[in-house]
């Protein structure tokens, strides 16, 4: 239950409703596709509106807060005009909206950096951590879920249930600190500071944050995979596989895992949001130059334009990824019902 609740409430319905539609013809597919696109566009609009309103509805005057108490009236006025905060609310939103559509999501309050420039320089690190942790999570989850689903002992399910819910309750930043203490100081496997951007070299800095980050994903992933494996095991074609005596690898992959993948793929796309949150914390602890650390820095220096830009981009990324995940789940599921 936790798994479903944690990730997204609609996840459960969507998976089940998509699994219950056996004969999907082309027209239906297109209609679903168009509906999903339309919904994503509307949600993206709200995401923009919320990100935009943050700066305008905050109780204090953000400009005054950013400049500190000893700022002159003149400086406040200049900055206010520069960011268009003196115009009416709807005009501001129109400017912001059209600007965002053409890729301009603001300028930093203090440095002259464009916010999208800040994001594009730091996004690769964050993306790399998320991809690594998702990969690690899949790698760890599949054997666990398979062995629990195939085990005939009821005690293994019991241990599985309790340990997944307990491991969800351990905060990632605490695990990260312990990991840093053990692997960094005792074993000296992790460099204390610094970062190199190129691909094979940066693994040295990223493996521990990614590993810690994946611990928030593994319990959820194994639970969903386990329950969809249990559903698959009830299907008749699994018996056929046993009777036909296909090889072990083929049996595990084509008869068990592939038919169970659709819910997992949809779940993974929903979990990107949670992963982003975890990555912010990891980047701060391991001092990695990702967007998360940039966000925390912008928050502490009160560079609200950067904060606004970063949450806009993250919101849009989540909308996009869950759109892709929905579609992938849909397509995977269609193949299953056809075969």
């Amino acid at each position: 239950m936790i798994s479903r609740n944690l990730s997204d409430e609609s996840l459960g319905e969507e998976i089940s409703s998509e699994q219950q539609a056996p004969n999907k013809n082309r027209g239906e597919l297109r209609r679903t596709f168009q509906g999903r696109i339309l919904r994503s566009c509307i949600v993206s609009f709200w995401v923009m509106f919320i990100a935009f309103s943050l700066l305008r509805i905050s109780p204090g005057d953000p400009i005054r807060l950013a400049l500190g108490t000893d700022a002159t009236e003149e400086a406040v006025k200049v900055l206010r005009e520069k960011f268009g905060l003196d115009k009416p609310f709807l005009v501001q939103f129109y400017d912001y909206f059209t600007g965002a559509l053409s890729g301009n999501i603001g300028v930093s309050f203090f440095s002259q950096r464009q916010v999208n420039e800040v994001i594009s320089t730091h996004l690769p690190v964050t993306a790399m951590i998320i991809i690594l942790s998702m990969g690690a999570a899949i790698f760890i989850s599949i054997p666990i879920a398979l062995s629990v689903a195939l085990s005939s002992r009821s005690s293994s399910k019991r241990v599985f249930g309790v340990s997944t819910s307990i491991s969800l309750a351990i905060p990632g930043f605490f695990l990260a600190l312990l990991g840093l203490l053990y692997f960094g100081t005792v074993l000296n496997w992790v460099p204390a500071a610094g970062y190199e951007g190129e691909f094979p070299k940066n693994l040295k800095y990223l493996w521990l944050p990614a590993l810690v980050n994946c611990f928030s994903l593994v319990p959820i992933l194994t639970r969903v995979l386990h329950s969809s494996l249990m559903d698959t095991l009830d299907e008749e074609f699994v018996e056929t596989g046993v009777i036909r005596g296909v090889s072990k690898i083929k049996f595990y992959w084509s008869y068990l895992l592939r038919p169970s993948l659709a819910p997992t793929v949809v779940l993974m796309s929903y979990m990107v949001g949670v992963m982003i949150g975890g990555t912010v914390v990891m980047e701060t602890i391991f001092s990695l130059p990702g967007i998360g650390r940039e966000l925390i820095q912008a928050v502490s220096t009160r560079d609200y334009a950067v904060v606004q830009g970063i949450i806009l981009v993250f919101g849009l990324i989540v909308v996009f990824v869950s759109f892709v995940g929905d579609l992938l789940g849909y397509l995977l599921d269609r193949r299953v019902t056809l075969s």
Binding site: G161, L168, P171, L177
Partner: protein, 275 residues
């Protein structure tokens, strides 16, 4: 078998409840009975755990044991309020949305809910706290502003189903007032689902409150708070592991106790629905 399983569910619940109450009792008694104050410099800096200081002392020479327990009600209280407000607001709004007949309102508010839910939870809370100013109050406000949408989405789906149930129709036929039907017949049934979610959400929120303090957006020093204590001691973790490990263990203890209760209740509900 069924009886045994139900008892196992019970075991989880009792385990979690006793862990939680042990912590609450500690949070109540330790600051009262201890000879040290939570913010009092009692000994040398960074003394290792001993009979004098069970969890050692921190960078400023404060007793970690007392600080860990005097943070119990700060952390759990903030998380509790941070779950309670969105639970009630989200349940009512979601239910109204589910039984509303106005398509336009349903569409607009529904997509607003999706929009709020689209933001990564922790990021959105961080950004809101940034705009509201650091502190426990703004954390609770931010949590409420973000989380009500998740409850509303659950409540909406559930309310659509409940609204078509026979007993709601019966209440309508009897001519009860709509508010009575809403609060006596629909919301109690919708909230059974949102309350179940609230329990697992409580774990996430406990961790989020501590994570925000860890990132420097939480309570103001010198108030003892687990996330803040871990943050303060993280720089000296190689010299004094106890100053950050014990608050971390307390945080995990709280999370695990709630997780056990939630797991036990789920097992029991599953058992109930199977019979």
């Amino acid at each position: 078998m069924t009886k045994k399983q139900r008892e196992e569910g019970k075991f989880d619940i009792y385990c979690g409840l006793s862990m939680l109450s042990l912590m609450l009792v500690g949070g109540l008694l330790v600051p009262l009975l201890s000879k040290y104050g939570a913010n009092e410099v009692t000994a040398d800096q960074m003394m290792s755990p001993s009979l004098e200081h069970f969890f050692g002392t921190d960078l400023l020479g404060r007793d970690v044991f007392v600080r860990v327990f005097s943070a119990v009600f700060i952390d759990l209280g903030a998380a509790f309020i941070g779950v309670l407000i969105p639970l009630s607001v989200g349940t009512v709004i979601g239910t109204l949305l589910g039984i509303s007949k106005n398509r336009r309102i349903k569409g607009v508010v529904g997509s607003l809910i999706d929009g709020i839910n689209a933001f990564p939870f922790l990021i959105f809370v961080i950004a809101l706290v940034a705009f509201l100013g650091a502190g426990l109050g703004s954390i609770i406000v931010a949590l409420s502003l973000v989380n009500w949408a998740r409850y509303a989405r659950i409540a909406r789906t559930r309310a659509v189903v409940i609204n078509q149930q026979g007993y709601v129709e019966a209440a309508r036929t009897l001519g009860y007032r709509p508010t009575r039907i809403l609060f006596r017949h629909i919301i109690p049934n919708v909230s059974s689902e949102t309350r179940a979610y609230a329990l697992s959400d409580f774990i996430i929120v406990i961790i989020a409150v501590a994570a925000l303090s860890f990132l420097g957006l939480g309570v103001n020093p010198p108030q003892a708070e687990w996330g803040g204590m871990i943050k303060d001691a993280s720089n000296i973790i190689t010299l004094a592991w106890w100053a950050s490990v014990f608050p971390g263990l307390a945080l995990s203890w709280a999370g695990i106790s709630v997780a056990l209760i939630s797991e036990g209740l789920n097992r029991r509900n599953r058992e109930g629905s199977q019979r």
